[in-house]
Amino acid sequence: MKIKEIAEILEAKVVCGEDDIDRDIRCGFASDLMSDVLTLDSENLALITGLANMQVIRTAEMADVNCIVFVRDKHVSNEMIEVAKENDMVLLECKYSMFNTIGKLFQAGLAPVY
């Protein structure tokens, strides 16, 4: 599934990485626990989280995650966007709850990590 499709399904706003929305995403992982995210080995993964702080971006940087969906109408800061840009990440902001977001993506065929 392309990032572009994820954004459409979630009616999400692309706040960073507009040029890379044609990239393919193979699976999704939802968590607000960063050490959980740091155990993953999957490539082309979208991280779905309700936490919007710099540590989410740093965690994604270390875990080689380059697409993050922020749910529950959480907004990212300019500092977060700056570091995300340096690392070629695409950031999406969406208004749905975590449950709703994951449900929509799962239904649309986005695979779980396990």
């Binding site: 960063m34 959980d36 740091l38 710099m54 989410v56 965690t59 270390m62 080689d64």
Partner: protein
């Protein structure tokens, strides 16, 4: 090649600075991306532990052609029972640390999984030293 970083306890805005710059260095040295990920994930967990649990710390990263050696040394409360701290799920993280997305009790086990060797020594009331080695040639 040696690099040194200072880490401020409690400052989550800056946590990850060392891991991020080490990642850039390793990329420039054309280290295998899989090894880079293992090294920076372990370093980042260690860096966050200093921010989350200690008062201040120093990170030394020594890179040669055979291995990457990292020493994370902090002044802090220390770890009374290292075996217990190594268990998945064990955490004494504060509410503030949990709000930042940490405190699952997975950092030390993550570090062990990602490094070739992990050595921890700690004295209660003084601080903790974590040493990680990753070999570049198997």
């Amino acid at each position: 090649m040696e690099f040194n970083y200072e880490v401020e306890g409690g400052n989550f805005a800056k946590a990850g600075y060392a891991a991020s710059s080490v990642k850039k260095v390793l990329k420039e040295l054309n280290v295998d991306p899989k090894i880079i990920k293992r090294v920076v994930v372990a370093l980042y967990e260690g860096e966050v532990n200093v921010v989350a649990h200690a008062y201040r710390g120093n990170i030394k990263v020594d890179i040669d052609t055979e291995r990457i050696f990292i020493e994370i040394k902090d002044e802090g409360p220390g770890i009374p029972d290292i075996n217990l701290a190594m268990q998945v799920g064990y955490s004494t993280a504060s509410a503030m640390v949990r709000e930042m997305g940490f405190g699952a009790g997975m950092g030390l086990p993550n570090m062990k999984r990602n490094a070739d060797t992990l050595d921890i020594s700690s004295s209660v009331g003084k601080g903790t030293v974590v040493e990680l080695t990753t070999y570049l040639v198997k």
